[in-house]
């Protein structure tokens, strides 16, 4: 049992994925389905508050951190991984199964990563593994190969770019704060925090950084799109909730995300692309919730992500089934499918009602928390935008998706119902959507702030009534517009989005500059090139394959892959070596402790909130060994008291020196502040020796040179 908790959650899926190609036929299907279940059982072994650490190149890494926030994302990622594997049961090629399992495992690993470096490794692994889900479609449909390859590369550039930003931010952040701990960050605190924020923002599809979602997701295979839509963006939501909860700028960003994509969703013809726009809109609600940052809002964001993965997965599964049976997913070519695919229709409608937040289904009980939190914060404009966006969701996901696929005018499709395993996966997802809607308390108990969630009642009469009014009148508007003939028809066309800028003008710029550069080079360096050519030819003769393997050119992709694999292997090694108990465990704990104490000292004196948070992190740091715990207590007490003294001092300064005019209550405040400051100073003296001596001893023993040399 202890041995298993030394592996990070999700590790079983990543390691297990390596053996998928060894199995054949039914055995492979069973094996693939079993891995998420095994991994979920593995996750159940971790208790809340579990922390596993390791030391790598002198940096203290926190490979595993289990708390309520990471747990709820870990749980839903496991459910999603299982549903995705079930849905992809028909896929014969092992490539997609391996990619799905590694991708899901990496997303789970990232969720439980306690430090920024570990997060980075998993962050990149999700990018590298998920791209195969898009590439796989080119194998099935050779005529799409070129297009799929191009979209995969665009996707990879943006995903890896996000990882590079995260790494740069991590290094800058470490330089500023002396800590790799992945906790609440302030954008003002360090330029690193801004880089990290942008890295998260790319994956969370912030406005203008969003287009990779709509570009890449609809181009993946039938099952690949379902998988893609489940993990990357929700991992980014988790990361934002962890690092930037209560960051005000997220509120307008999120509001833009709810409103901006729905216009495109109304126009889009590719129904899986409509869902990708709608995914963006749903992420907006979560980002607003994280920006508001109250307990209710963070609960709402986490709950909405949970429900969203299920209903978005359900909708994409139903669209995937339609694509699987008809070979097209364009609204302009579909219609009337409810006659041949009645069960898929029913499941799609459940998903559509869930995403529209119809009372009784999952979206209602989760989105309402975010909207209520915005209401409690009295953000009228944002509240209005969210209501507008709710009506918009009702249009593109609630009405357009089921209506134009399964009803509208019958295009004469005579196809079979979706395969059984797809129906089963959709049925399970639909049952969960209904289950969460009917028994929200089960989900609420998993939320980051369960006490706050227990006090929240989604089924309050005003709320049910107003939501029903909003939805039914939106439906009435649809009927009116269609009957008046003004509802925009579904047309075989594409719509320009921000990808236009890098797919047309930027591409043209690059192509033309390249042409110009070649022209200049040919005219000026012709002779030099001739010489270089001869030198190269001689090199080639000696080093090119088959004579010299190392002479083969390495592509940037291969290098990235190699680097990521190396890092991942190191991580695996340290996770097994680092948590080995006994001496090693103590050394790791000690380094973790030193790291956290150093982190407090790294914060500027006036950043009271940041200091307070660091002290809290230190106070809650789980450690083994009484001597370490004693040092932790002493240091937490000392730094807490120091902080208190500084806060009181700042207060005294702000009141200023008293004179005859000073009112009595000011004097009383001043007196209280003096007393508190003195008491705090006394506490500093009490704990000072224990902390300073304790850390010095630990430093001498476990980290002899690091801090001294800096």
């Amino acid at each position: 049992m202890n041995a298993l908790t030394q592996l990070f959650p999700g590790a079983l899926m990543i390691l297990g994925a390596c053996f998928v190609p060894l199995f054949r036929g039914r055995a492979r299907s069973a094996y693939v389905l079993a891995l998420p279940l095994l991994s979920a059982a593995h996750l159940a072994l971790f208790s809340l508050g579990h922390q596993g650490s390791a030391t790598l190149f002198g940096y203290t890494l926190e490979l595993v951190r289990v708390d309520a926030l990471s747990r709820i994302f870990g749980v839903i990622f496991h459910i999603a991984a299982f549903l995705c594997c079930l849905y992809a049961f028909h896929v014969k090629r092992p490539l997609e199964h391996v990619a799905t399992l590694v991708y899901a495992g990496a997303a789970i690993g990232a969720t439980f990563a306690g430090d920024l470096l570990t997060l980075f490794v998993f962050w990149e692994l999700t990018a590298l593994s998920s791209v195969f889900l898009i590439l796989a479609r080119g194998l099935d449909e050779p005529e799409r190969r070129e297009r799929v390859f191009r979209v995969s590369m665009r996707y990879l550039v943006i995903q890896v770019g996000s990882g590079v930003l995260l790494l740069a931010g991590t290094l800058l952040y470490y330089q500023g704060t002396r800590s790799l701990h992945f906790g609440r960050m302030n954008l003002e605190e360090s330029p690193g925090a801004l880089f990290i924020f942008l890295a998260f923002g790319i994956k969370a599809a912030f406005p203008l950084l969003h287009n990779w979602v709509q570009d890449a997701y609809p181009e993946a295979s039938v099952s690949g799109t379902v998988v893609l839509a489940s993990f990357t963006t929700k991992l980014a939501i988790y990361a934002l909730a962890r690092g930037f909860a209560g960051t005000d700028v997220l509120i307008p960003i999120g509001a833009c995300m709810t409103a901006f994509p729905i216009f495109f969703a109304v126009l889009e013809n590719d129904l899986r692309r409509v869902l990708a726009y709608s995914l963006n809109n749903q992420l907006g609600y979560m980002v607003v919730g994280i920006g508001v940052g109250t307990e209710l809002a963070i609960n709402g964001a986490a709950a909405h992500a949970f429900a969203h993965i299920l209903y978005k997965g359900l909708l994409l599964m139903s669209m995937g089934a339609v694509l699987y049976r008809t070979g097209t997913i364009k609204a302009s070519e579909l219609g009337g499918l409810h006659k041949s695919m009645p069960l898929t229709t029913a499941f799609c409608i459940i998903g559509a009602l869930s995403i529209s937040a119809f009372p009784g289904l999952s979206g209602f009980v989760t989105k309402s928390m975010i909207v209520s939190a915005v209401g409690e914060a009295h953000l009228l404009v944002i509240f209005g935008v969210l209501l507008f966006a709710s009506a918009g969701v009702c249009d593109h996901s609630g009405i357009k998706i089921p209506f134009f696929t399964f009803f509208a005018h019958d295009q004469g499709w005579k196809v079979q119902e979706a395969p059984k395993h797809m129906l089963l996966a959709m049925g399970l997802a639909a049952a969960l959507c209904i289950g969460i809607g009917v028994f929200p308390s089960a989900l609420y108990a998993l939320l980051p702030f369960p006490e706050a969630a227990a006090q929240y009642h989604a089924y309050e009469t005003t709320h049910v009534l107003t939501m029903l009014q909003l939805l039914f009148f939106a439906g009435l508007a649809f009927i009116t517009l269609v009957r008046l003939g003004v509802y925009p028809p579904e047309l075989p066309a594409i719509n320009l989005d921000t990808d236009y800028f890098y797919r047309r003008p930027l591409k043209r710029f690059v192509v033309e500059s390249y042409a110009l550069a070649s022209w200049v080079r040919e005219r000026t360096w012709g002779m030099a090139l001739g010489l270089r050519g001869r030198a190269l030819a001689s090199l080639r003769r000696n080093h090119e394959p088959p004579r010299g393997r190392l002479g083969e050119p390495w592509t940037a992709g291969a290098t990235t892959l190699f680097a990521a694999l190396m890092l991942f292997t190191l991580l695996l090694l340290t996770s097994s070596a680092g948590c080995g108990g006994g001496e090693d465990a103590e050394a790791n704990d000690a380094r973790l402790l030193l790291d956290r104490v150093g982190a407090i000292e790294g914060v500027p004196e006036q950043a009271f909130e940041a200091r307070m948070e660091r002290v809290e992190v230190l106070r809650r740091l789980p450690l083994r060994g009484e001597s370490l715990i004693a040092v932790r207590e002493a240091c937490a007490e000392m730094h807490g008291a120091l902080l208190e003294a500084d806060v009181q001092n700042a207060l005294i300064h702000s009141i200023g020196a008293p004179d005859e005019d000073t009112p009595a209550e000011e004097l009383a405040r001043l007196e209280r502040a003096f007393t508190a400051a003195e008491a705090a100073a006394a506490r500093v003296v009490v704990h000072r020796d224990a902390c300073v001596d304790g850390t010095a001893t630990l430093r001498a023993r476990y980290a002899p040179d690091r801090r001294g040399s800096e």
Binding site: F264, I479, N495
Partner: protein, 120 residues
């Protein structure tokens, strides 16, 4: 895709398309009545002043929806391009002008009311 295929026989849903629309209208009326009743008998839990009016959410739903769809139609004029837009080379060997944006579709496709919406 479908080249002049015969549609399957009409389903119960298609036969009752008009009844479904009537039902939606009926529910809308009931919801407004419920709102009136609730305003006088129950207690409204609101965050903002505007939420206190009867039927305000109905209005928000209807107006937002119509506004969204109509403005999206305008947006279409700006952003719609043929499906193979990105497949065209950015720079041709002989300079060729950028493919012009497609104009609004032929009006023939514009009016094509769906069978379910047929009032008959």
């Amino acid at each position: 895709m479908s080249d002049a295929r015969e549609p399957l026989p009409e389903s119960a849903i298609e036969r009752n398309a008009v009844n479904i629309q009537r039902a939606v209208v009926g529910v809308c009326v009931l919801l407004l009545l419920a709102d009136v009743a609730f305003t006088f008998l129950g207690h409204r839990h609101t965050h903002f002043g505007f939420e206190g009016y009867i039927g305000v959410y109905a209005l928000v739903g209807f107006v937002s929806y119509v506004g969204l769809v109509l403005s999206a139609k305008l947006l279409r004029k700006l952003v719609m391009r043929p499906e193979d837009y990105y497949d065209a080379p950015v720079v041709a060997a002989a300079p060729v002008s950028e493919p012009a944006p497609v104009s609004e579709p032929a009006p023939a496709t514009e009016v094509a009311p769906d069978t379910t919406e047929d009032p008959s």
